[in-house]
């Protein structure tokens, strides 16, 4: 119950942000929500089941292009977003069936290649997708401010739904089974966890919200091209965020998203030419000094202090 209340309070506080009136903050907040969705989604397969998936970029790009293609045919906005999520999920279930029997490094590489393949395919179909020229998306017939708020609330709603799903999954049989798979997949299999079905479910869960996020992103920025929406950093950043916040936790991914974005903004603004190296330094420092994420490190600090007082 406490978790639900915490989620509701956080969501309500974030929802008040547009009152600040600053469009810059609104844009940042929308990005934070998007990052939170990506991180939360990756947590299903990477944090709970322990499968290092690089497929986030594939789902994101697939969602973005599904929605863009439907909008180009004159489909309603929300329908195109829903279909983007559906296409990403079906794709994940299909591709998951093929690559989830691989473990460790092999799975990581296979999932990475899936994104590369999709990018090359879309690049290679200029008649339908515009190829390397990219696609323009229609502009909404509302004012600029209203539009910015609309996309912010859409992303926020998606982040809340993904967090709520995470809470449910963490507590039911699926979450338990996935944690078993992470600790020892063979043992889990023998004890009656249908590892294959569970992994496929986790992989699909890691796709559905990312697909929708890609679709919202596409409608928001109005122009997409393959290197942008299939960027490998879209697959790596969620991992970093989850590692920052804490693997397999509920609020860790969202916290990681806030920290990473805050850091990115600082570095982008002040040291443009070395921003990649700065991200690299965070990653290295994070792994060497905070291997369990910020949440659990704080928790151990507090529990260490308690007996003393």
């Amino acid at each position: 119950m406490r978790t639900w209340i915490a989620l509701a309070v956080i969501a309500a506080l974030v929802a008040l942000l547009p009152l600040s009136g600053s469009n810059y903050f609104l844009r940042l907040a929308t990005t934070v929500c998007m990052y939170a969705v990506l991180a939360q989604s990756w947590n299903f397969i990477g944090g709970l089941a322990g499968y290092p998936s690089f497929a986030t970029a594939a789902f994101f790009g697939l969602g973005a292009y599904t929605s863009a293609l439907m909008l180009a045919q004159g489909a309603p906005l929300l329908l195109s977003w829903g279909c983007a999520g559906l296409v990403a999920t079906v794709f994940a279930a299909m591709i998951g069936g093929a690559i989830l029997h691989l473990r460790g490094h092999y799975f990581a590489i296979a999932s990475l290649i899936v994104a590369e393949m999709l990018r090359e395919l879309i690049n290679g179909m200029p008649d339908i997708t515009g190829g390397g020229k990219g696609m323009n998306l229609p502009i909404l017939p509302i004012s600029v401010t209203a539009e910015a708020q609309f996309f912010f609330y859409s992303m926020l709603a998606l982040a809340v739904v993904s967090a709520a799903t995470a809470i449910v999954v963490h507590r039911n049989k699926l979450g338990f089974g996935l944690r078993c798979i992470q600790q020892n997949e063979d043992a889990a299999n023998i004890l009656g966890v249908n590892a294959y079905a569970y992994k496929t479910a986790a992989f699909s869960l890691s796709a559905v919200f990312v697909g929708v996020a890609g679709a919202i992103y596409a409608s928001w920025v109005k122009y997409i091209e393959p290197p942008d929406v299939f960027d490998v950093l879209l697959a790596v950043k969620p991992m970093v965020m989850v590692l920052l916040g804490g693997l397999g936790t509920i609020f860790g991914p969202a916290l990681g998203a806030v920290i990473l974005l805050a850091f990115e903004e600082l570095v982008w603004r002040n040291f443009l030419t070395v921003h990649a190296a700065a991200l690299g330094i965070i990653i290295v420092a994070l792994i060497l000094f905070l291997p369990n994420g910020i949440l659990s490190t704080l928790r151990t600090w507090f529990s260490r202090k308690e007996p003393a007082t």
């Binding site: 690559i99 092999y106 290649i113 393949m117 991200l279 690299g280 965070i282």
Partner: protein, 288 residues
């Protein structure tokens, strides 16, 4: 006749691919680390050869040793100082760590050398070699021969030297090797350094063939991935076979479908291979 020429081109390319991949494969097989840095190591090796040629007039074939030695030192420091701390952590941690290190190294190279493409223009190229109906550029053939020699040298090192046997022992069973008196952290560092040496040497050889830029790092890394999965992990003959197979396949697909499709096709091939034979062409099943 044209097919013979294409196959020969593929084999020359393949010998270089084998040299690119063999160090990557060694690190993966022995340390169970996917070294994302490998692509940047190769590029750094190319830069060493480039600067040695432009400023000191040293032929890139000779700088293979210099570039290798520089990278050996860098690799040893990285493994002993940083990667060894988390070497037993899950895949995700080591993978992310080398990714972070790669961001730092690649960005530093971009700042230091810019993204402009550099190239080594040899003052005395070796001309063309004719073998029957096949014509090949002499420098490429010489680079390929050197690459294969280096790979064979590594093979002998692993089989015959004391340190090589220790590396193989760690690959087979880390705990058992440690109990038998092998200094595992040092072997880890030496293995990673040898992987970096091979990358640097390959980079020096490639400097006379491909343009040099930090942007090429991911490209080389992708090749190393594919070769490893094709040939199977951690074995030198596997990397050799994988490299030659990839070279020939790329050569033929470029001819039939155009060079821009060659990358997509090699990726598709890799996915299929992962699906039917995850342990590679020469790999053993169930050997992680």
């Amino acid at each position: 006749m044209i097919y013979l020429q294409i196959a020969a081109n593929g084999l020359v390319l393949g010998g270089l691919y084998a040299c690119i991949a063999v160090g990557f494969s060694l690190v993966w097989g022995v340390l169970n680390v996917i070294n994302i840095l490998h692509g940047s190591f190769i590029v750094l090796g190319s830069y060493v050869a480039y600067f040695a040629y432009v400023h000191l007039g040293i032929h890139p074939f000779i700088s293979t040793v210099i570039a290798g030695a520089v990278l050996y030192g860098l690799g040893y420091l990285l493994q002993a100082g940083i990667i060894n701390r988390v070497i037993t952590a899950p895949v995700l941690i080591t993978l992310t760590l080398t990714f972070g290190l790669d961001l730092i190294l690649n960005n530093s190279m971009l700042v230091a050398f810019t993204a402009d493409y550099q190239s080594v223009n040899l003052a005395h190229p070796l001309g063309t070699v004719q073998i029957g109906p096949v014509f090949l550029p002499g420098d490429r053939v010489a680079a390929m021969v050197l690459a294969v020699l280096l790979t064979l040298l590594l093979y002998r090192l692993l089989r015959d030297s004391r340190i090589g046997r220790a590396i193989v022992a760690v690959r087979m069973d880390r705990e058992a090797a440690s109990l038998m008196g092998v200094d595992v952290p040092r072997i880890n560092a030496v293995t990673f350094a040898i992987g970096a040496f091979m990358a640097g040497a390959a980079g020096a050889l490639l400097s006379i063939i491909f343009p040099i830029s930090p942007l090429n790092g991911p490209l080389f890394l992708g090749k190393a991935f594919i070769v490893c999965v094709l040939g199977g992990l951690g074995s030198v003959p596997g990397a050799m076979l994988g490299g030659l197979v990839l070279g020939v396949i790329e050569s033929f697909t470029s001819f039939w479908f155009g060079p821009e499709r060659a990358v997509t096709i090699s990726f598709a091939l890799l996915l299929v291979l992962l699906f039917v034979r995850p342990s590679g062409l020469l790999g053993r099943r169930g050997y992680e």
